[in-house]
């Protein structure tokens, strides 16, 4: 694809996304906000798993750190449900959001002595512990988390303007701009920023170092990449992305409960990045939209889809159907990429040696004075 085409495509896609709140109803806007939150979380995970080659099952933990961190830091102290008393820092909400991202990153950093030393499956198993630890804390640290019943999430606001609420009333082009419409833009802005930043990192110096580290740690170290620092760095980055995603999930759901942040959530995020193709930022976005959107849409239209059972009935309900669907999607992806690899191998066998440049040609290719320059710049 040419550069111009790509730019046009990007601008068109952004235009459509910006126009959405004028056309979609509240349900679809909420689905969209959940999708964009998941996109951010999945991008963070694909950099960690796909680019740096560090398997993590702790993503749910860092999502929870962001979500609960925000709810606590922005929340006012007061009575919670079921007779609990909630603590809250009562900070301005944008500051609370920033601090919650930092908190998730800090949690990642605290884990970095482990994350920096282990890789692959070993890290996956070690990170599993964080999910159970996290849920235990969420259920039991009642003044902070509200315990089993969770706690409600304060709306994000700047100088009295609710970025995710209905106050003050706002009507744009005849469309009332309430909480759902505003939240859409907050989520969109975060998702676009997260996408751009991750893209730059993956294409740039840290991305190159992490990719070589994944494929051959000894080679990466021999090229000057400090392995521990990069493993820890990838982990912290992914934790911060998860933290931001957690905040957006909290703002969209308006109430957060510990049950949600379990192992299944971590596995769903792994499914997102595998479906999208490991290490691909765009793929993670597509996978996240698919895995998050599908269950919401299926259960919304569950009544119209004949074979799906309603909640409480026997049979396959929407949530189960969705798990089967993305199980199938993962299998399809893995088979597809295996076929692609075979095709590439065949193509290589078919083509003649790509480099048949002799030393003479190489020397001719050197521009005038290049040998001297080579000498001067070399040490």
């Amino acid at each position: 694809m040419s550069r111009v085409m790509r730019t046009v495509g990007t601008v068109a896609a952004l235009g459509v996304l910006v126009a959405m709140p004028f056309y979609l109803d509240a349900f679809w806007l909420q689905v969209g906000a959940f999708m964009m939150a998941a996109i951010i979380g999945a991008i963070g995970l694909t950099v960690l798993v796909g680019t740096a080659g560090q398997l993590s099952l702790a993503h749910a933990f860092f999502l929870a750190a962001g979500a609960y961190g925000y709810a606590f830091l922005a929340g006012e102290p007061g009575a919670g449900s079921a007779g609990t008393t909630l603590a809250g820092a009562g900070l301005p909400t944008p500051l609370a959001a920033l601090l919650a991202v930092a908190l998730a990153g800090g949690a990642g950093l605290a884990f970095s002595p482990v994350a920096g030393r282990l890789n692959g499956l070993y890290l996956g198993v070690a990170s599993l512990g964080l999910v159970f630890l996290g849920q235990h804390v969420l259920f039991n640290a009642r003044p902070v988390t509200g315990g089993f019943n969770g706690r409600s999430v304060p709306e994000l606001s700047v100088f009295g303007f609710r970025l995710t609420g209905d106050e003050p009333e706002l009507v744009l082009l005849g469309v009332p701009f309430g909480a759902r419409e505003r939240l859409w833009y907050v989520a969109l802005a975060c998702a676009v920023a997260g996408y751009v930043v991750a893209g730059r990192i993956v294409r740039g110096r840290p991305g190159r170092a992490m990719r070589l580290m994944r494929q051959n740690p000894i080679a990466a170290a021999s090229m000057g990449v400090p392995l521990r620092r990069y493993r820890a760095g990838a982990f912290v980055l992914s934790a911060m992305y998860a933290g931001l995603a957690g905040i957006l999930i909290a703002l969209t759901a308006r109430r957060i409960v510990p049950d949600y942040f379990g192992l299944v959530l971590s596995i769903e995020y792994l499914a997102m990045v595998v479906i999208g193709g490991l290490g691909s930022v765009r793929g993670a976005a597509v996978g996240a939209a698919f895995v998050t959107g599908l269950p919401l849409v299926l259960s919304h239209y569950g009544d119209d889809i004949g074979f799906l059972a309603r909640p409480g009935e026997d049979g396959v309900d929407a949530a189960t159907a969705v798990r089967m669907l993305y199980g199938a999607a993962i299998v399809a992806f893995v088979i597809g990429s295996a076929q692609q690899a075979r095709k590439a191998q065949k193509a290589r066998k078919g083509t003649p040696n790509a480099i048949t440049i002799t030393m003479d040609r190489a020397r001719r290719a050197l521009p005038g004075g290049a040998r001297r320059r080579l000498q001067r710049q070399g040490r």
């Binding site: 110096r205 840290p206 190159r208 440049i357």
Partner: protein
């Protein structure tokens, strides 16, 4: 800068992979390390690169390398081309060469993510330099090609170019022509000669191809069972009785 090994020893359990190995590599020379299979040639490279902790001392100029982690040794100017190609397969030749600039560049997660101007400048500057190195090694035509699409010989060449792109003082080449066609071998030998002449780096070469080593090396260290059995110019080593015994199993 001179690379010196002094009494370097390495054991794996009861096996002495390296037993008091000492030799010097002068800048601007090609120094070959040869020996039968299992003699300790690759261990020697791993000892220099800091992959294994070793006894004794490895020095570059007046800097002690022993005990430093591999990335710190790379920073001091030791670059290595791997025998079993260790490149990022899906990445382009350019990206693979750019990795070698890691220790010469600064851009971190934050500044790269924010797309700062100094990051873009740094990237441009080093891309230009890497393109020169690609031209020097005859890879300029395939800069944008994923490494996985190159032939074996081509990937071997990228491996060599990547080590060169690290601007090394010491260049470690682990069997740089193994498995190459006759033509590719000749090209690589020309490249090594050119590198020695133009860049003046110290080249340490592990290779099995004897005629090639004899024709290319300025000095040869022969290892057998982890010990140095001969060290000197090719003419000296060729006639050395210990060497003949190690290679031919002759009783003299």
């Amino acid at each position: 800068m001179k690379l010196s090994l002094r009494d370097v020893s390495l054991r794996f359990g009861g096996v002495r992979a390296l037993d008091s190995v000492s030799f010097d590599v002068e800048p601007g020379t090609v120094h070959a390390v040869i020996g039968p299979n299992g003699a300790g040639k690759s261990s020697c490279f791993n000892a220099i690169c800091g992959v294994y902790p070793v006894g004794g001392s490895v020095r570059l100029g007046d800097r002690e390398l022993t005990g430093l982690p591999p990335h710190a040794i790379a920073r001091l100017g030791v670059a290595r081309a791997f025998q079993n190609i260790a490149l990022g397969g899906a990445d382009t030749v350019l990206d693979n060469l750019m990795v070698a600039r890691h220790h010469l560049t600064r851009a971190g997660f934050v500044s790269t993510g924010l797309g700062l101007r100094r990051v873009r400048r740094e990237e441009d500057r080093h891309r230009a330099r890497v393109t020169e190195i690609a031209a020097f090694t005859g890879l300029d035509a395939v800069l944008r090609t994923p490494v996985a699409e190159l032939s074996y010989g081509g990937r071997k060449r990228v491996e060599f170019a990547r080590a060169l792109a690290a601007e090394p003082r010491v260049l470690l080449l682990d069997e740089p022509v193994a498995g190459m066609t006759h033509h590719e071998k000749a090209t690589t030998v020309a490249l090594i000669r050119e590198t020695r002449a133009v860049l003046g780096v110290a080249v340490v070469l592990v290779e099995h191809d004897m005629p090639l080593v004899m024709g290319l090396a300025d000095r040869i260290t022969v290892l057998d069972f982890g010990r140095v059995i001969a060290d000197g110019p090719p003419a000296h080593v060729r006639e050395h009785p210990e060497v003949l015994r190690a290679y031919l199993g002759a009783h003299s």
